[in-house]
């Protein structure tokens, strides 16, 4: 513990440097604005900002991008509460009671509780990250190729189990993403696969064009031609203070949401989205007055908002400790670190203590910045929502093209962006979850390499996965979850998705 605090002091000595403070502030500000804009979620925001971080030092780059991430998580709640428009998917549940509170003239307390809940959950999440990541990294030093293969497969099985939508569709999308990851030169044999004669495809398909295409362009294609900007309430600072009763009612949901969100955040998939749904479901279930939910219950704002912010922090645990992204956002952030020649993984915390602990400390700072930034300035931020969507989406599209092109100055990437936009649009129409595509794309090279190395180690014997205890345990856990996910398909039972308001199968 003493060592942890010593490391944290090192982190604060890095994070409190004026330049890092400025970038943490800028990241939170951009993130808040990005989160508020429908069609620009945290992933698109981070992807678009990625090229701008190439010239920065790695600590500043990751602090900036992390600021955008949790800034966007908060920003999304503002539009949900004031306009019933989720700026990003994790804020969907906040719309239900948040907007009902707005209609009753209680928008201010809803915004304040969302901000306070996000702050507490974010801070507790960082404590969890600080305590868990180094331990996990130390444990992961024992991992060889079979353990990594088992871990990655377990991640995909958990993704299928925890997915908010259809399990079959999630698995299909993960396979589609893994297939996209097969494009390019095979590192073990030198074969160029599925490049169709396009030289740029030899390097593979990048995460940025795929992610921005699926989540940014796809969303715009779905929403383009929609209604003009609705009227927005502009709460004043004095209206923000919640009553004592509202504070009392929110305390439990914030605590439960923080814990639940952090644990779900570590698991692969759209954790921040799932955590908010699960938190809402739990709060409604344990409430003495579940009939208040949907009518403006403050617990319905406090729980999901805390959960999605804690999940955003939890997602950094496997990213930092294992080098494995559990969400498209962390995949892009890994790409941002790798540009600087740093490989996230078990050795990162030992080899780059300034980066890891500086990042952890910057998250404490970022949470304070968000609280200071968001509460007093919410009236100012909502002006952005008055811009008609007809003006907004062309500019967002131009940003998407600009951001994608500038990653590697390649027009081919822009074509991939547009293709993915079209595919994302069609897949969304058919109600497919897109996060597994981006996740599969990033995990594909890791899975392929570790699987082939494992088989080479065992002379083609798949039994190697059953001879090593860690690999066996992880695979067994994954298979159990997969079977549990299959159960409602076969026996027509009720699965966990239904109980929290998500769709089945």
């Amino acid at each position: 513990m003493a060592e942890t605090f010593q490391n944290l002091l090192l982190g604060f000595s890095v994070a409190l440097q004026p330049s890092i403070l400025v970038y943490a502030f800028v990241g939170c500000l951009i993130g808040t604005l990005v989160g508020m804009m429908p069609g620009l979620g945290p992933l698109a925001g981070i992807s678009l900002l990625l090229p701008a971080t190439f010239g920065l030092n790695p600590i500043i780059a990751i602090v900036l991008l992390a600021g955008v991430y949790y800034g966007a998580m908060y920003g999304g709640s503002t539009t949900s509460i004031l306009m019933s428009i989720p700026g990003e998917a994790a804020s969907v549940m906040t719309c239900v009671d948040g907007y009902a509170m707005t209609q009753k003239g209680r928008a201010g307390p809803a915004l304040a509780i969302a901000a306070i809940g996000s702050f507490i959950a974010g801070t507790l999440g960082v404590v969890g990250l600080m305590l868990l990541a180094p331990t996990l990294a130390e444990f992961a030093l024992r991992f060889g190729p079979p353990e990594y293969t088992a871990l990655l497969l377990m991640g995909l099985f958990i993704l299928a189990y925890m997915s908010g939508g259809s399990m079959l569709k999630t698995l299909a999308m993960a396979a589609f993403g893994l297939m996209l990851g097969m494009i390019g030169i095979d590192v073990m044999s030198g074969y160029t696969r599925f490049s169709f004669g396009v030289v740029e495809l030899s390097d593979g398909v990048g995460i940025v064009p795929v992610a921005v295409g699926l989540f940014g362009v796809g969303e715009i294609l779905l929403a383009a031609g929609g209604a003009e900007a609705p009227k927005v309430q502009q709460p004043k600072l004095r209206d923000l203070i919640p009553s004592r009763e509202e504070f009392r009612l929110s305390a439990g949901p914030i605590a439960r949401g923080s814990l639940l969100g952090f644990l779900i955040g570590i698991i692969p998939g759209s954790a921040h989205i799932i955590s908010s749904f699960v938190s809402y479901g739990i709060e409604r279930r344990i409430s003495r007055h579940p009939e208040r939910f949907g009518q403006g219950a403050i617990e319905g704002v406090a729980g999901p908002e805390s959960a999605n912010n804690a999940a955003a922090t939890g997602a950094f645990v496997p990213m930092m400790a294992l080098g494995i992204p559990t969400s498209p956002v962390t995949a892009v952030m890994i790409a941002a670190i790798m540009v600087h020649g740093i490989l996230p993984g078990p050795m990162l915390i030992q080899q780059q203590p300034e980066l890891f602990w500086g990042f952890v400390a910057s998250m404490y700072v970022g949470n304070v910045v968000l609280l200071i930034l968001n509460l007093p300035m919410v009236g100012l931020f909502v002006n952005l929502l008055r811009i008609p969507y007809g003006y907004l989406y062309p500019c967002i599209l131009c940003f998407c093209i600009l951001g994608t092109y500038s990653v590697s100055n390649s027009v081919v990437d822009v074509w991939i962006l547009l293709a993915m936009g079209g595919i994302g649009y069609v897949l969304r129409k058919f109600r497919y979850d897109l996060a597994p595509v981006a996740l599969g794309l990033v995990l594909a090279p890791m899975i392929e390499l570790s699987l082939r190395q494992s088989l080479a180690m065992s002379a083609g014997d798949y039994g190697i996965f059953l001879q090593r205890p860690i690999a066996t345990t992880m695979l067994a856990l994954g298979v159990v979850l997969l079977l549990l996910a299959l159960k409602p398909l076969v026996f027509k039972g009720k699965d966990w998705r239904e109980s929290v308001g998500l769709e089945k199968q």
């Binding site: 079959l168 074969y191 779905l222 383009a224 027009v411 822009v414």
Partner: protein, 160 residues
């Protein structure tokens, strides 16, 4: 799986949304499997470059088939609403044209032309705001991203 269709829609015959999407995934899997035939699959001891793509094609095909089989009670394909599809296609074509133009006429001119098309033609906004937004965005974004953040962006043959 989605079971949100109304009774009238449920009674309508024809292909269902999940049946259609499942079959499309199956077709994609077959195509990948066919393309994969040129890469050596290798042996279990030494898997070749075609090994994992083949496994994935089989897996995706199976998932597609299961989605199609379990999709009998989803919304009929004919009942799906594509109200925004025309606009979406126009947007994609415009972006495609901009991509072709990007390295030929430079970032600023491309973005200005694209915004004029979106705002003036597609959204039918008044000329003055269209011009202000297009010129403002084109030059301001170039200044911030290209000049301040030093990200190299394509210039026109005329030097701007």
């Amino acid at each position: 799986m989605i079971r949100d269709s109304t009774d009238t829609e449920q009674k309508r015959g024809g292909l269902r949304t999940d049946q259609f999407s499942g079959l499309m995934l199956l077709a994609l899997a077959l195509y990948v499997g066919w393309q994969n035939r040129v890469y050596p699959v290798g042996t279990l001891a030494e898997p070749g470059p075609g090994y994992l793509p083949l496994l994935l094609a089989i897996f995706l095909g199976t998932m597609g088939l299961l989605i199609a089989l379990w999709g009998a009670r989803t919304t009929p394909l004919a009942a799906m609403k594509w109200t925004e599809a025309t606009r979406a296609v126009v947007i994609l074509i415009a972006c495609g044209a901009a991509t072709l133009a990007l390295e030929r006429i430079g970032y600023r001119l491309t973005v200005i032309a694209l915004l004029i098309f979106f705002l003036g033609v597609l959204e039918r906004k008044r000329p003055l705001p269209v011009a202000l937004v297009a010129l403002g965005f084109g030059f301001a974004s170039y200044y911030v991203i290209g000049d301040l953040l030093r990200v190299p962006l394509p210039r026109s043959p005329w030097g701007f």
